[in-house]
Symmetry: C2
Subunit: 259 residues, 2 copies
DNA sequence: CGCAGCGTTGAGTAACCTCAATTAATGTGG
DNA sequence: CCACATTAATTGAGGTTACTCAACGCTGCG
């Protein structure tokens, strides 16, 4: 297939085509995985797909066949509800695994949409289960993966439940700065790959509120943003903002307003 | 997690030891689990604990030893953050499993606090892993459990991110009515085991806002609450409220205010 | 150039929060 | 058992945040 050929040339570092050596797939070949299992794992990779910007990796309602590992690019996961409301539940970047929320019902819950040209590996869930049975390390690794996603969503629940708009945006920028590929001398400079609309949906805010929060953060001199290019100018200040509680925040504002 | 409670079918094999026949532990002895594995599973249950109201089942920071299954009573899971903020991330009822967010880091993330006198089974995670390796059904069941929790938190993210206070409370009451033990002729009458404070924390609101939302729902004749005793008087109306989008809600309100 | 999409800014409003007071339930010691 | 203190729940008034609706600027593209 064509996408197999493209997979051979994809990674930037020198790699042969096999899964077990793939840097991006370290999650599914943890240290200690025996060679035969590694080979079986490699064989369970049933497709390597490229998704053009705006394209769907999968749609909610499809039956779960494979889990997907992002090799390059970025995707958003969106959840659509009975009333038609849509929310972005996460952004998937290199090394992230998509589709794990589908295991419970065997049906994908989320649409997965590429925000830029992306490529993924698909791994058949059923085969993966068989392999992990004889590879305890792999099994545990998978459990940790699922558990980490739970912990992550708990963090997000806190964010959505008890942070102001500005704090949410500050948190988001900090999260992205830690996950984004470094672009420049230090990690403080990076590019947001998603629109304001996507950010607002993810943070449970309106588009305009995200904008206003961003300009607020700029006026506070903790970041500088032009369109989607971000520079974190005061990392400590940014984190301080996030940790501030509501009461402290009001106090700070009052102190500022009355010099 | 909801499907755990509904997965209460009796195991196929009948053993005299208590675990495999335990109604509340159907999640860990799914149909098809071979007798020897069921026995090993039974042996992996290392403790059965009773927790008095207000007591801790475990505290955040403890290393993960066991997963816990609630046998009776109800507990809340709370997450404490760097800035000292605390949020209720869930309420655990009969059949629910606690501690699964600890697998990623091997450290419990949540405090688990009994809201009423409760009892749980603890199952050693390490042993559970060994057993599930030879019992594919059990393994898959566990994955479904983890995945269901992810799907549940995604739902909650939507709730926190895009519902009004009144909708959140309506949603919460509906959730509880589905999960609560029936108390009376139909499922429309039940008791909330948690305080308004806990509800507000869970829903990302303030205590007073929860109260006002509740009285609002009473005035709309969809429910009747006295303290913690709830009657759902108009289930369809309640669900309709939840599905209503912001714009529709405003329109409905305007129509109501201008007769 | 003119259009289209994304991002930003402004004015007014609705939703929710804060502070404060009141009432209802629960517990406690005499 | 009752008076008292304590906690939980409710209600009210006023302030703050974030939303709605709307206009405008920037960037890229045919």
């Amino acid at each position: 297939m064509a996408d197999v050929a493209s997979a051979r040339e994809a990674p930037s570092t020198r790699l042969d085509s096999s899964c077990p050596n793939c840097r991006f797939l370290a999650w599914c070949s943890p240290a200690g995985l025996a060679a035969p299992d590694a080979q079986r794992l490699h064989n369970a990779v049933v497709h390597r797909r490229s998704i053009a910007r705006g394209g769907f990796l999968c749609r909610a309602g499809e039956t779960l066949g494979s889990l997907y590992v992002v090799r390059s690019g970025i995707l958003k996961a969106t959840l659509t509800h009975e009333n038609g409301g849509v929310q972005v539940t996460g952004f998937l970047m290199t090394g992230d695994v998509a589709g794990i929320d589908a295991i419970a019902s065997s049906v994908h819950q989320c649409d997965l949409i590429a925000l830029e040209d992306s490529s993924v590996c698909g791994i058949r869930y059923a085969e993966f289960m068989n392999i992990s049975r004889s590879a305890p390390e792999l099994q545990h690794h998978f459990h940790r993966l699922l558990s980490a996603e739970i912990a992550r969503t708990h963090e997000l629940m806190f964010l959505l439940g008890s942070m102001t708009a500005r704090q949410r945006v500050a948190m988001f920028i900090l999260m992205q700065s830690k996950r984004s590929p470094v672009r420049g001398s230090d990690g403080s400079r990076f590019t947001l790959p998603m629109s304001r609309q996507d950010i607002s949906s993810f943070l449970g805010l309106k588009l305009e509120t995200v904008c206003r929060s961003i300009t607020g953060l700029q006026r506070s001199k903790v970041i500088a943003i032009k369109r989607r290019d971000v520079v974190i100018e005061d990392p400590a200040g940014l984190e301080a903002l996030i940790r501030l509680k509501g009461a402290e925040k009001s106090a700070a504002r009052r102190a500022r307003d009355r010099p």
